[in-house]
Structure formats: C-alpha cells, structure tokens
Symmetry: C2
Subunit: 103 residues, 2 copies
C-alpha cells in the first residue's frame, strides 16, 4: 500500500462541518505539509490560505473554483485551488483525498 | 500540538460503515502500528485481530466489551479490547481516537 515515509502526524484531527469533513495533518522532514482527509456526501464551502493541490484518491464530487463553473471530478484526479480563496464542493460519493499546501 | 514523529502513513484511508468510521494507519520505526480515526454518532460493531488499546481523544460514547455491560466513556479516556473479539459502540458525540495494536 502506498505510504508517506518519515513524517510527523498530529494526534488531533481537523474537523469541519460536524465531522462530515475530517483530516489529519502530516509534516515532512523538509517542513512541507499535507493533509489526508475524508469528505462525506454533502455541500461545503472551504477557504484556502496557501495554494492547495487536492488529490482525489477515491470518490466523486463537483467543484466550483473561484470565478469558474462547476466541474465534475472523479477519482483519480486532482485540482488546484489558489491561495486566499473560497471554493465550493458538492461531494457525491465519499472522497478520500490528499491535500498539499504549496508555499 | 502533540504529534507522532518519524512514522509512515498509508495514503489510503480505512473506511467502515459508509464513512461513519474512518481511520489512517501509521507505522513506527520499530514496526509498531496505530490508527488515528474518527467515529461519527451511531451504533457499530467492530472486530479485533490484535489486542487494541483505544484512546478516546475527544468525544463521548458507550462501549460494550466482550462479556461486559455497556460502559460510558468520555474523553480523555482509554479502554482495551482483547484480541480476536467483537465489541459494540454507541457513539454519542463525534470521537477522535487513537488505536494502538498490541502484539
């Protein structure tokens, strides 16, 4: 099974939308950070601070990035979200994702 | 924030009960293993292979261990589940847990 090696992981989960979105924060030895998370079916609006690359490992959703139309995303796929922005999600089938924060 | 250091983490989540229970598998350099997971409110029955020590980091639930009565558990707390057994859970408030597999 594919793994990230030599990382630290926060014991406490990140919890949003009453647990419909949860993630675990991991940090690599070079200081770079990712989260591994789950999104249950539902509609959500999220904010970014850093630019994010979101890798949809399993599942199906629609995404509306800033100033764009809704787009359908089915795993395996990835999309980028600009820094300091809002984006909307309609999760259709449970999503297992990996988010990379880009500085 | 408290962390586990120098671990590997599987990219793919463990998913049970349609995503109401999800976890991430981590492995330490000595080969020992834990999962960090989320349980949403609901009733569940789970099986063990190894003996498990389940640390309830946040949340509230009731647990019925083999041949025991229901007991109430509120974070922070932990309980042990014998190897090769079944146990039942009634999660009342979202649980963020850490499970240690004991060989």
């Amino acid at each position: 099974m594919a793994k990230f090696e030599n990382v630290s992981i926060a014991k406490a989960a990140n919890i949003f939308y009453e647990g419909n979105i949860t993630s675990r924060s991991i940090e690599f030895q070079d200081g770079s950070r990712k989260t591994l998370g789950i999104m249950l079916p539902g509609e959500y609006e999220l904010n970014t601070i850093n630019k994010e690359i979101i890798d949809i490992q399993t599942g199906q959703l629609e995404v509306m990035l800033p100033a764009e139309d809704w787009m359908e995303v089915s795993a395996p796929a990835s999309f980028e979200v600009p820094a300091n922005s809002k984006f909307k999600l309609r999760v259709k089938k449970l999503v297992d994702y990996c988010c990379t924060f880009v500085k």
